[in-house]
Amino acid sequence: MENLASLSLVAVYSAMGVYTLAFIAFTLDLAKRSAEAPVSAAARAASRVNQTTAVASGSGGTAVLDREDALLPEAKDGSRGGATVYQRVAFALAIIGWVLHLAATLTRGLAADRVPWANMFEFGLTATVVGMGTFLGVQLWKDVRYLGAYITGFTVLSLGIVTVNFYVDVVPTPPALQSAWLVIHVLVAVLATGFFAMGAGLSVMQLLRHQREVRKTAGLKFLDTLPGASTLESLAYRINVVGFVFWTFTLVAGAIWAERAWGRYWGWDTKEVWTFIIWVLFAGYIHARATRGWRGNRSAWLAIIGFSSVIFNYTIVNLYFEGLHSYSGL
């Protein structure tokens, strides 16, 4: 028991180390892209047309282009083009880090002999493993490695904070948490958080990309190598929608559990209030995507505000707001 818990902690620190290296490599990749990105918009457009035709003539869009700027991933639809050496290294490191991270989460669960999400430290540990897993998994479907720096950076930061500030020893589950709903309610909340994290990253990229497309801002030239703002928006939407379904389920499962544990399914407890606020914000985001004048930047901001509220709910509301979801002892 004790040994497993300390083993888990060693794995967490190792994962953080590997993630940090992955973060550095991802950042170097972005820097390299900035350096190599075509200077003029015309050149960019030209290279994109070349790439598009070349890719279209290949089967399934996986053609490897034997040209200098083929180092840059194909920009139209995020299909798998070439990747810089840095990116390959970074992605491999991210996978290694994730395996360690997953091992840390599993051993923590084994040490506690229950699901590894019964307190804030464990929630943070599991939510980041899911967020990272989502990032790696989406890769099988769409090339989103340009998000690597954001995801690994965010994961290292979160892991550092939860390990240093929220760590608690393994303790038995108190009667209030002895319920099958602990498994369901919190797991789905963890999944939703992972998806929203990824969606927010895409929305940030979308805003930056839009900024660069429209205002031709200087700097951050790597943005030119990303898919277009509307592609990023569409991708963010699809990921946030999955997060929204999970969040709806979290809310309903939480209500069912609250009825069992506290005698009412909804009582506007502070945590319930914020779960509701987040749900409404993402409902707003989805409606914004279907409202003229609100597609694009404004809806992206809503997704970012929504994810910020998730983080706020997990940190500030848990720690400083009085309520039934009490974590004062962490």
Binding site: A56, P172, Q178, R292, G293
Partner: protein, 556 residues
């Protein structure tokens, strides 16, 4: 664009947007400058504004913002003690916030106004959509557009064989891909994914279901709390509850007769050692209240109530929410007559169940007597001389009492909190600064009261539980609505709604085919879907696809 959607609905499937049409409401063609709106016209205009996407969106965001104060300021509904505390700490600010209904955020005028407007807007939006969808479900796919090459996924191909063969094969492929198909001349028009709109409508109707259930059935609910000591019996009557709150349509007759006796309460703790301080930590593992329920027919059953495992009795659900010790205290006057003999529920103050209790003896002694008592289940004496409990089980139970004499304030008819002692009109006679030591009693011990009032004895140590009784007739409706909402949500996101067309024209030695699609709602995979359709169709015909050209207005 979907007809009968709000005018500012935009699902991204229409690449070229028509400018907002001028409002057609009005009394018809007077004056070229400003069309005058009659009463009906204004009504229509306002209705259209209210049911527009933009209004719904703004109301949603307002709702999120309006909920925030509910988490910042204590609410009467969820934290009444917090509200009392707030008033005590800052009476002036309290007045202002209370005038703004901030302590009742979720029943306030402004919060209610937002969600009611939102739901009116929602109803105004889904009624016409439901009617339209009902028609769409029973109608055939629309005519094939004249120019397919302006649509998504446009492809051309050549195939051997006749136009009729090609269209017959196309129809078979489309039906296998679960399209509804209609032939118009030399073309096939197909549509699928009606479930998307169905799911979307179900989701929104289910939300109305949640609100409607709470609004209607919520009026019949009630809940009450009762502290029950081991060995005591609670009878389900309005007057026996410690606290009781009921909704509008409640009446006493709704309380079904039953009684609940607390036979035993059992608490299990795990002992752990805090490595940094070396102290013992009690980790609760299990609480079980064993009760005997007797219903109206006289039958008795034994049940266990646990945290997270309430029991149902005659239309109410009983929850175990709290527990503690209820020492039995017996007070005799100087003549040896018993003037007080009750188990007093002591409220736990920490994890080792150091507990605080109040004793009030209004009659039988020379003066009215009040006591503030501390109870330590496993008492030890600290170096400072003070007592502390080191374990939540009664291994060394000790009771200390500080006695007050004077006016308890019970005679003026104002209800008093049984768990608080108003010491304004009382004089302290033991403990604190009085110079006299607090009365300290082990279980079974007795002591003299000061002033020759008599004696006090710590007679027995039963435990108590705090049980919540709830009758909530909204639960079933809200649960069903929530499940429908989730199902509708998943379906509406997972099912793409799309139209596809195949046209066939005779060409030299075969048939010239064209394929294209149109998204109705978010549909990023439409291009792939058209590709799949064409490939499968041509496989059957033995035809060949020409190089695909990117659609001019792809909705990426």
């Amino acid at each position: 664009m979907e007809p009968l959607r709000p005018s500012d609905y935009d699902d991204g499937s229409a690449p070229t947007r028509t400018a907002e049409r001028p409002d057609r409401a009005g009394d018809g063609g007077d004056g070229p400058t400003l069309p005058r709106l009659g009463l009906v016209g204004w009504g229509r205009f306002l209705w259209r504004q209210l049911t527009s996407m933009r209004t719904a969106l703004v109301l949603l965001l307002l709702l999120a913002v309006a909920a925030i104060p509910g988490s910042l300021v204590p609410q009467r509904s969820s934290n009444p003690n917090g509200v009392v505390q707030f008033r005590r700490d800052d009476p002036e600010l309290f007045e202002i916030l209370d005038a703004l209904q901030l302590f009742d955020t979720f029943t306030s005028v402004w919060f209610s106004a937002i969600y009611l407007l939102l739901f009116i807007s929602l109803i105004g939006c889904i009624i016409p959509r439901t009617a339209h969808h009902w028609k769409a479900l029973r109608s055939r796919p629309p005519k094939t557009p004249a120019r397919l090459n302006r649509l998504v996924g446009y492809r051309e191909a050549d195939a051997p064989g006749s136009v009729d063969d090609a269209l017959a094969a196309g129809e078979a492929v489309l039906r296998r891909q679960r399209y509804r198909v209609e032939r118009y001349g030399n073309s096939l028009s197909a549509e699928r994914g009606y479930l998307r709109e169905t799911g979307n409508l179900v989701f929104h109707v289910a939300l109305i279901g949640v609100l409607g259930t709470v609004g209607l059935a919520g009026g019949f609910g009630y809940n009450g709390q009762k502290v029950i000591v081991e060995g005591q019996t609670f009878v389900n009557q309005l007057t026996t509850y410690d606290t009781f709150s009921a909704s509008r349509f409640f009446d006493d007759a709704r309380l079904d007769p039953f009684s609940m006796r607390l036979d035993e309460f059992d608490a299990v703790f795990n002992a752990a050692v805090d490595e940094s301080s070396g102290t013992l930590i009690a980790q609760p593992l299990d609480y079980t209240a064993s009760v005997t329920i007797t219903e109206a027919n006289g039958e008795s059953v034994e049940r266990d109530i646990k945290v997270n495992a309430p029991i149902d009795i005659a239309g109410v659900r009983a929850y175990l929410l709290g527990n503690g010790f209820a020492p039995v205290i017996t007070i005799r006057n100087a003549e040896g007559q018993v003037v007080f003999d009750e188990s007093v529920a002591f409220l736990p103050q920490d994890t080792n169940l150091t507990s605080l209790g109040i004793i009030k003896v209004p009659d039988g002694l020379p003066e009215q007597v009040g006591m503030i008592g501390f109870f330590y289940p496993s008492a030890i004496q600290l170096d400072s001389g003070a007592l502390a409990s080191i374990w939540p089980q009664p291994d060394n139970p000790v009771l200390t009492l500080n006695m007050f004499v004077g006016d308890l304030g019970l005679d003026d008819g104002v209800p008093r909190n049984a768990y608080a002692l108003d010491v304004d009109d009382l004089e302290q006679v033991t403990g604190g600064d009085t110079g006299a030591d607090s009365i300290i009693l082990g279980l079974g011990q007795s002591a003299e009261l000061p002033n020759g009032f008599g004696t006090v004895e710590f007679t027995a140590l039963p435990r108590f539980v705090s049980i919540d009784f709830h009758h909530d007739p909204t639960q079933a409706g809200v649960l069903i609505s929530s499940v429908l909402a989730i199902a509708g949500l998943i379906v509406s996101f997972a099912v793409p709604r799309r139209r596809v067309w195949i046209t066939a024209e005779p060409s030299d030695g075969g048939t010239r085919l064209q394929y294209a699609g149109l998204a109705r709602g978010e549909d990023p995979n439409l291009d792939d879907a058209v590709d799949r359709l064409a490939t499968e169709h041509l496989d059957r015909l033995g035809g060949r696809l020409e190089n695909a050209q990117p659609a001019p207005a792809a909705s990426q």
